[in-house]
């Protein structure tokens, strides 16, 4: 088990308003920082660590060097290749971000207190009501900040705002037991059904995830709540017939077809630039998008497993565009 951050505040790296991709209706998605998994295809590399992280946008920088003058740790240097951040020495104090006139420097991760975070998300209450939407907590892995998360979910529910928990499933079952009473919908990722491959691609085996999936399925069925399964469709890693059939079989047999919906999310490469800005290498940066035809083959396989309400979305490329 990874470290659980216990704090009065939550470390959040993004609050996305009018999100339409993280559950029903119009939602606000709150992205919690830190993740226990290390998926090769991870689309939110800024979510992984439990500390705030600095990023630099080349196209916004006006070259004024205010950041270098501001930094007391002397971790920044600017040359013709751009701004270099000595990430070993950077203490993420954020002073350079504050002084940068052009917002070329940005800090992933900000500490929010409960009142502040709730005030921010309640602003769109009207839209939640009209659309049967609400708040989605995502990440990273939100359950790693379970104490703050629990208080946040309680506050939302207490004020009539519907909640969804987007989770990788890799957490102590007790945490789920505590959180589930305050969650209306669980968005659970099942990425790879083969545990060895799961470990190879994400850094952990999948047994805990699958056990938690069963726990959640039972809970939602007994308590009139909902569960959706989400599977990232990544060429060479998860986009195989065996994997889709295996996940389908698991949903039917072990989860007794309780999940209301199964989403196949096709690979996208929009995060390439984020990796660069964080000075991280991304093994999949040259991986091509799938074609619509390719994803629809898998979609048909998924539908044939008997799981109800299979959907797909995400980026595809047109065939001739190689």
């Amino acid at each position: 088990m990874s470290v659980i951050i216990e704090s009065d505040k939550g470390l959040i790296f993004e609050i996305q308003k009018m999100s339409t991709e993280d559950g029903p209706g119009i939602r606000t998605t709150v992205f919690f920082k830190q993740c226990p998994l290390r998926c090769i295809w991870c689309h939110n590399p800024e979510s992984l660590l439990k500390t705030p992280q600095l990023e630099w946008f080349k196209h916004k920088c006006i070259g004024c060097k205010t950041c270098i003058e501001t930094c007391e740790q002397k971790v920044l240097t600017l040359d013709e290749d751009g701004l270099h951040i000595d990430r070993e020495k950077c203490i993420s104090c954020g002073n350079c971000v504050k002084e940068c006139p052009s917002t070329a420097l940005h800090m992933f991760g900000e500490w929010w207190d409960l009142e502040g975070l709730y005030n921010e998300i309640q602003k769109d209450k009207v839209y939640y009501q009209k659309s049967k939407g609400g708040v989605t907590v995502s990440g990273g892995e939100p359950t790693l900040q379970s104490s703050f998360l629990l208080r946040f979910l309680k506050k939302c529910k207490g004020n009539g705002i519907s909640t969804a928990l987007d989770t990788c499933g890799f957490a102590n079952r007790k945490i789920y037991e505590k959180l589930l009473p305050f969650v209306d919908l669980v968005l659970l990722d099942i990425k790879q059904i083969d545990s060895e491959k799961h470990q190879e691609f994400t850094g952990v085996k999948n047994e805990i995830i699958l056990e938690n999936a069963e726990l959640i399925a039972n809970y939602v069925q007994n308590n009139n709540k909902k569960m959706w399964i989400r599977t990232p469709i990544i060429p060479n890693y998860t986009a195989t017939e065996d994997n889709i059939k295996g996940i389908g079989k698991f949903i039917i047999e072990k989860l007794r077809n309780i999940p209301e919906r199964w989403d196949l999310l096709s690979f996208n490469n929009l995060c390439t630039a984020k990796y660069e800005r964080l000075n991280m290498d991304w093994p999949l940066k040259d991986l091509a998008l799938m074609t619509k035809q390719e994803i629809e083959i898998l979609f048909d396989i998924a539908k044939k497993t008997g799981v109800k309400n299979v959907q797909w979305s995400g980026l595809t490329k047109i065939k001739e565009d190689n």
Binding site: K17, M18, I26, C39, I62, K123, D124, K130, P232, I318
Partner: protein, 836 residues
Amino acid sequence: MSEINENLGKQERSQRFQIAEPENLSKRSKWLRDYFYKGRGRKWNNQFTPFTTGTDWDINWHEGDWYINPEVYFYIQALGKKDMGVFASSYRSMASPVKLPENFWELSIPERRIFFLKEVMLNYIPQEIISENDLIAGGRFNTQLSKCFNKKEAKKYWKWNIKNREANFKYHYSGFGNIGAAPGHIIPDYETVIKKGFKYIYEKAIKRYELLSKNDKRGPKGQELRAIITATEIPRKFAKKYADECKKLKEKASSPQRVEELEKMAQNLERVPWEPAETFWQAVQSLWITHMLLMAEESYPGAGLSFGRMDQYLWPYYKKDVIEEKFISKEFAKDILGSFWFHCNTAYDAMIILGRQGITSGYGQLLTLSGCGPNGEDLTNELTYTILEVIDEWYPSLEPKPNVKLHRNSPDKLLDTVINMISRAQGAPFLINFDERSMAGLIAEGIPKEEVWNYACVGCLENTMQGNDRSGTVNCNPNLVKTMELILWNGKNMPGNDKAIKKGEQLGPKSGNPENFQTWKEFWNAWRKQMEFVIKYTVDIYDKDEDIVAKLMPTPLLSSIVRGCIEKGLDIRQGGPELRFVTVNGVGFATLVDSLLAIKKFVYDEKKYTIAQIKDAIMNNFEGLEYEKMSVFLKNKAPKFGNDSDEADELARNIMKTWADECWKFKTPNNYQYRPGMLSWNYWAGEDAGLTIATPDGRKKGTFLSNAICPTSGADLKGPTAVTNSVGRAIGGITEGGELINYLPNGTSQTITFNPSILRDPEHREKFKSYLRGYIENGGTCLQINMLDTEMLKDAQIHPDNYKNLLVRVTGYNAYFTGIGKELQDEIITRECHKM
């Protein structure tokens, strides 16, 4: 985990760059549409035709009608020269003389003017049926009529006009915006004309005239009412001429079906608009003949001369003919409307292009659809949907301009239709108006709660009542951002920025040397003083612009169908209507808000800069390394309106309230009450932007100001719900009891650009529908939606020939993307494009 939160949806590049084309048009409507779009290649057109009394001093083009179009100032006259400009003199020299009766010069001005209109429309303008495809009679109406002045009046006009011109030009060229008493911008009482006929109005005018005392009959009331009586007979005589033309054409008709149609048309024209309409066809015919005559009278085509709630007043006819008695088919009813659509578009024949930003023209024959009834119930009917079909099939086209009213009880079917249309076009082919917020503003101006539901829109989006309300909805357009310059230089222009004034002239009050202000409160008070001055300066000029048309250029035909005028014996331009307002539309709201926010934060809260430093930076237009850095800092690091931030939006609301309260303090000499609005048409992108020096929000001289109620370009970073919440809050917000507040009775538009992927499937369309329902509660009065892919727009800049049909919405106007200036194109591309 959210692996794919930057999801773009199931879109493929190959589908992205399709431009909507007209579709499903009937053969007949297609012919009419194609014919219109032949433009100069057509045999027939509806160009301005000028007419004169033949006197040496005649005037048939009043420049004041165009003062709110600063892009034509050049053609009015260069500063300092005291005679006719290019337009006035060329219309004068091209004008055909009209034969006048012997007693003409003994008549009063209104009687002369109405006689002149009558002569021109009956005996000088040919009555033509455009084609066998046309079901609605009424071709040419674009006139420039003599003002019918005698020599003494002409002299008076010129003396007055030159004074007004100098005042207006000074106001404009020193960066205050523009002002003018524009024609149109009203919903005449078309409903009464259709349902009761001009006969009823004629009789009402006669009765009113007979009640006048002998003295009054000799005076202005008698003159006006006699002119109105003459006016109400013009439509009958004019329609009769068209009836004759239809009968004549029967002989040449190519088919028995056309013979039958021409017979019907002749019958229609012998009945309406004099008698009440009995059929749908007659109702539309009655409407068109009346409308075109009003445009002829004002010599200004379709300047916000609007139809009101057409789907409501035409509904009884449609219901009877199409649904109950099946007297005509729905397809035929659509062709009747199609002919009407065609004629509305011919307003554009008057002049091809106006202005370098090319918002094609100041036309806005607006029709309003749907909306609520007296108890909040929905009034959508089958005709609403039929008209929406016509709009959809004709898309893209420019006129008439539709607004769809939404409210808490709008049915899902209507919203689904609206969203389908949005997804087919590059955005909504109509503006969406929001009843609850709009009505809150109208109630605040004194409209009774029992009546307010029947409001409708004129021009672009301006809220007025129907048939009795002239609200001068576009007449005063002060540049709010000017107040910043006046505070910083203590009531003067920035040194060097004095092209149109005496060097160092004290324009506004001395609000104090800002460099000595110790607190934000002092700065705010100085802003208030300058803002009060700007409004007073504006109304003083407008009072005179209004008075010249009131005293010298009455419009008796229009007056006859605006309730209140006959009753009072007063022309519409002299204070006749029951509801009388003049709207002051603040321009550059968010630029002002952001400028004040930047000063508050960095000068007073954080003390990062001094006022002296800000002034230096502005004088240097933020050029040079240090100032560039400052400009970038101010642009990025200050709070901005449009992000649902309490601090920014509360100041925005305060500015709005303070400004709106001040507008209500004034009335014109003709008894029109000033009221606030925020239309800001194209000025923010055009003339005003060019004349506004750099601003404390980091904006450089000449770049665009903010548009209407929108945030400054690219400042809204939190998505569509956040910007919507900001807009709703700025125009008033909600009381603790949950009642909507609206400081702007005229309304204001929010333009929002979405990526087309948000409507990619039924699930997302439902979400979008909910967003619109949320807008009703949290948003402003009016929303214009663009559905544009940034890549497509960039491609359109490179290959304009492939995108001739690409229509985008610019401040309430549809404009062809390839026909607008590069600057405005770039602005549209950089608008925050919201992916959901």
